[in-house]
Symmetry: D2
Subunit: 425 residues, 4 copies
């Protein structure tokens, strides 16, 4: 069964349960962090964990609670602090300075969460939320799940800036070891076809999807082949050792400029020995058979060229993924690191690592942003970024689907992003 079942919009109990679960999970992810860890902002693109905790709460306060007449903000001035980029919701503290928000403290933010949670559950259970409010509540949970993953990637980046390379958690389980026999990668072939991709627009249709996944539409994909599994650490290491980072002909022009300017010579977090990497569990040996991770689009693309292949388009990826159950290693598994896998056939499409596609992030034909301020959620970023598919070891499992479109700039490396090869038929 390939698609997540959404709670019925009319089941208050289910919605309340889901709400409680997702909100608790975020706190759980933040639990290993001291107040000081939760302040870290190591680059403008990354946000402090405390800010993620507060912003996701503000989202509910701003878009659900504040709909009620007479709503008084939890604290004056906090909306500015915790608005991210919704110009329709007023001013926002500059993104690059989120790490300067020592006030409110982590404890005060947790109290904020508790209070907003209580108000929402109270309103929900006494049926004070209309349909629109309930829908935004559900949206807010999907929003929060996105921030759960960002919280992890941002913490990882922040801790990586510390010369002592401290672990997020010292007690993470060791990754599984896949079946080494399957190391050679097989190709799965697809014929030319007009396929339907994307999701029917929510909430008109029942299954939740972000606006950028809609409308569902037909695409013609030429015949192609898709690698049975993602590219492994061992394979990427061969690229490094073959001089991949010193060979301009393998790179896009913008990518090569970045390599030279930034002095890139291996994936982010790989140590100099090419045999270990910094992870949420500290520095650990690289499993040669696990998917390579923390690549930019530029690196993924250069590797594919070196390998005589290319990245799949998102239509190709989705066509292949639609047939599969949404199963894989997600954040709940608790390893928080890509793992090698066994088996045959198309595998690891979901979980482990996000897979860069060759597709620039663009609106689907007939795309309409959500109405009002929430229309800023996705649409205004449809320029200069690339689509990633499939979710990662840091993604909540029930947050992913075949039509899910993640997107980052081609230079971004701090996500759990790897690649799967494709080639013409």
């Amino acid at each position: 069964m390939s698609r997540v079942i959404e709670p019925a919009a009319d089941s208050t109990a289910a919605l309340a349960g889901r709400f409680a679960r997702v909100r608790a999970r975020t706190l759980e992810l933040a639990a290993p962090l001291s107040a000081e860890d939760a302040m870290l902002q190591s680059m403008p693109e990354a946000s402090p964990a405390k800010w993620h905790l507060a912003h996701t709460t503000w989202f509910f306060e701003q878009f659900v609670l504040a709909r009620a007449p007479g709503h008084r903000p939890y604290r004056d001035g906090w909306a500015v602090l915790f608005n991210s980029y919704y110009r329709g919701a007023g001013a926002a503290h500059p993104r690059a300075q989120r790490g300067l928000l020592s006030r409110p403290t982590l404890d005060e933010v947790k109290a904020y969460r508790a209070e907003v949670d209580a108000r929402l559950l109270e309103a929900l259970t006494r049926d004070a939320l209309d349909g629109e409010a309930r829908r935004i509540l559900l949206l807010g949970l999907h929003h929060e799940q996105q921030h759960q993953e960002l919280l992890l990637t941002d913490v990882l980046h922040g801790l990586a800036c510390h010369p002592g390379r401290p672990a997020y958690r010292d007690d993470l389980p060791a990754p599984a070891s896949g079946d080494a026999v399957c190391a050679a990668c097989a190709w799965i072939a697809f014929d030319e076809a007009v396929v339907e991709i994307g999701a029917s627009p929510w909430p008109a249709h029942r299954g939740f999807a972000f606006d950028n996944e809609s409308p569902r539409h037909r695409v013609l994909t030429a015949a192609f082949q898709l690698a049975a599994r993602p590219v492994s650490n061992a394979e990427f290491r061969a690229f490094v050792e073959d001089g991949g980072y010193r060979t301009p002909s393998l790179w896009l022009s913008d990518g090569w400029e970045t390599v030279e300017r930034e002095g890139w010579d291996r994936p982010l977090y790989w140590q100099e020995d090419l045999e270990s990497a910094f992870t949420l569990g500290g520095v650990r040996a690289l499993d040669p058979h696990a998917p390579v991770c923390h690549l930019s689009y530029y690196e993924a693309d250069a590797f594919a060229r070196w390998a005589g292949a290319r990245l799949p388009t998102e239509a190709e990826w989705e066509r292949a993924a639609t047939a599969l159950p949404v199963q894989g290693r997600f954040a709940e598994d608790g390893v928080l690191q890509p793992q090698s896998a066994s088996g045959s056939g198309l595998r690891q499409m979901f979980g482990d690592v996000w897979e860069w596609t060759a597709s620039a992030y663009a609106p689907y034909p007939g795309y309409r942003p959500w109405r009002g301020t929430l229309g800023e959620y996705n649409g205004k970023f449809m320029c200069g970024q690339y689509v990633l598919r499939g979710g990662s070891c840091a993604t909540p499992g029930d947050h992913v689907r075949a039509s899910y479109r993640n997107f980052f700039y081609p230079r971004d490396r701090w996500q759990f992003a790897g690649l799967r090869l494709a080639r013409g038929a």
Copy 2:
């Protein structure tokens, strides 16, 4: 008849004639420039006219003449000066410092041109060029035509930096005045269809096309409508006056950041009065009915959103254009400024202004770069840029075709770039 007939690869006379014509035309375009004008480099993206003259010549020397055994370079050290970005052809002087090449002088560059021309024509006419050399010769002419347009846009940008706003030429004819009655824009409707776009790969097929136009392939386009003509100055002025540059909700996120950082409040070259603009003929009144020009992708996209429409994809554009003759106002007309047009039906698809499309510049399915160093021509730029279609008032008319893909970064404004609206059916 909608496609240019290429000279038969086996007709030496035709090739020689074309060669002489194109090379002479470049000199003609540079003729109004003093040695000092020809030195101007006003930003890293723009090159001095002298450099264009030399680089296009180096292209022939490097890729045609140097194929002959025993070839001695015209001058030692010049290859470094005039290589643009072909890493396979050795080192290149830094792009941003082309304006520091006072040596060789303009006269010496003209002598270089004359000598390379003579050698090539000599080799061509005594049949010393093999098929590959002849093909590269032809490619070099298409390459040179691209630089003819860049020479004009770069000179315009350089002169615009001068507080005296000097004209490139004082004797440019006044633009034509179109039929004001046609000012209201009609929509042309297209049904859903699988169409074929792109060009068959040259030189396997006879008609010349750049590698990025191939292979010809099927695309499914949903039903859509295309505006009968480009957006006019009057229409864009209404956007400006409506506060378009002060309304973040109209802009892509990256676009709005650019607007704020650069202080954009009107198209490049428009004067503060919104009624005149700097052109190659100096400051001139804006024709309200002429196509608006010198827009970035961000501005084109914001205008479309303001107008309740969108930009066409390149497949939509090409589908519509394929049916039309390649006719329009090109560089040969000598006005070097977009003009208003009369008539009904789909018009001004070719010439006047390049039209930004909604399509990120990406490889077509099955794309293969040319072999060897010339493979760097187009492929390595397929990231972060957007496709423009149709040619402009500064494009040589026989350089354009329906499948032609021009590409620039979304922030770039100094090309003759405007837009045509599209919308869903």
Copy 3:
């Protein structure tokens, strides 16, 4: 009596007492800060309070405890974290990234302080420190007092970046109100003279002084006049209202460039109304008679030019100050804000605000840096900075002397820096 009496180098009790007092005072200053406040680094020049706490401790560990054979560092890897700029002491974490050190936590840093304090007091009282170690111990206390002031200025800057303008302490006493009658400023006249300035080199001579205050040497000062008191808020406000920040002829060329680039239009921390300012006690009304504060050298110099006067040289300042007792409003007073004063004659030379002098920070004739790594303390900064004199409301009172040379870049505004006018005789 105008100079502080240093504890006799041979009085262990006095040294231990002073040590305990200074170290406790630093903790007291950090007490109002949460762990999160103590992480704030709002610009590369400012350091987190936690880092100040740790760095001053590292200074004792590195330069005193580590002299003992067999010393084992308190924690491996911490030397890199808390070394500031002593290249002779090994690697240092990049200054601009001190705010990313969530580990160790504030509590761990306090434990570090306690342990190092215990070890030092133990070594001191069982006479295990030789003369050199005792001298460095004393130096370390002067060093720590410098960081006490920096801790306050850096916290102030960090909190000022928060849109809520939170106070460092809500319970700071209100500033005193001086005698408004004394508002008109008198001039004190000095004849031409060869005077001796500077301090005899410590430790050869008994009174402590930094190396940059030595050697004591003769300087010829022409006749001059010195303003009886610092420039007041009311006077500076008149400059602002007279268009001082819009009049390039009042500014040094580098200063004007800074004004334009940074958009300066009033002193740092002044609110738009020119009647209130952000302070360690939150936003407070400006006392018109209190010394103006948080000026760059550029602003001090421009004001002086506007007023038809100039800044004093450090020799002029020191000549005048030497005759006075080191009395004034210092950090111990607990107001942490410059206050207006009453009385006649030369006043407020010490305390309230550091006074920019016209003197570039340079070595005195015959200057010798301390030997070894501590030679990096002062000497390597003698370029591009200007000398300030007299201490401020955030300086420990027993840290200041007439020969004391503070120094900052002319663009720096976040210190408690004001000015006193001078003019020719």
Copy 4:
């Protein structure tokens, strides 16, 4: 006799003669340059030769001719182009964009020079210039001589950016070879003394001096020793080979940052072999005994520290220089490169290389800028720069005097700047 005799302000013939001579000399210096060479601006601090030609002419037009009632500018709009930094004289084209002024052409600028020269000489000879105008005329000649040197240093920098390393002139004579026997450097000793330095203010006093050289004033200099000659190439090479550029303890903090950021590892223009350097005559072998040149203050200071010495203060330098005739190798010698010298005693104080002093550029006690717009000439730059003394091989010989204060930023390397060591007595 050590000081230049100025033409009597009342001798029209002498003034006219000097005017003609200086103006002609500038053209002579520009004569080897093509129109394109004269466009080169290789960094914001350097200006195109054409701009120097025009700016010096504008100076006369603006400050002399425009004093006459009814003056009409030579060309409308040119004042903006050729004003440098005189805010009192209206707007100025941005300094970093002087290289974009292809218009007017070099020939038009020469015609401008001729016309302004003619008008001035006509006015001068028919006695239409009042005393003030005559004084500014004289000042304008000193101003022009400064630009003669800048023209050479800026051309050298521009040509050095060309990978072909083209010479300014191919026919420059070979440098002289000094007496190798004198290679070991002697020290000249000076006692403590109160000396008078500086120049009496012109025009109140007859001999010309810039305002920054006045007033003449007493300074106490402690006993010191001054090296008999500047530091040589061989000596500086020993510093390089001893790892001087890799030893942070030798450098000022700002200097070391610059070394690391810019990747400095030898003087500007030295080739990698440390045996040759780019000069106005092209790449030439370094004379080991000639003064080292093209150093920043940071490098001069680091060398002095390495050598166990220091830079002299400007008072020390001037005290020593006042006793000497203003003789040396200047621009008129036509070698345009520092040369080694023979002899004994204090030598090469004038000419060959400017000598960095330890003195930050600051006003003398009682300094008053000239009145009006010309007050911007020197005063507003008295911040962040260091004084150089003595003139160079590119300075006109009659432009230099013992009191002359040149000044540049400590990072600046493109002047003919070297150093002479000093040390305590």
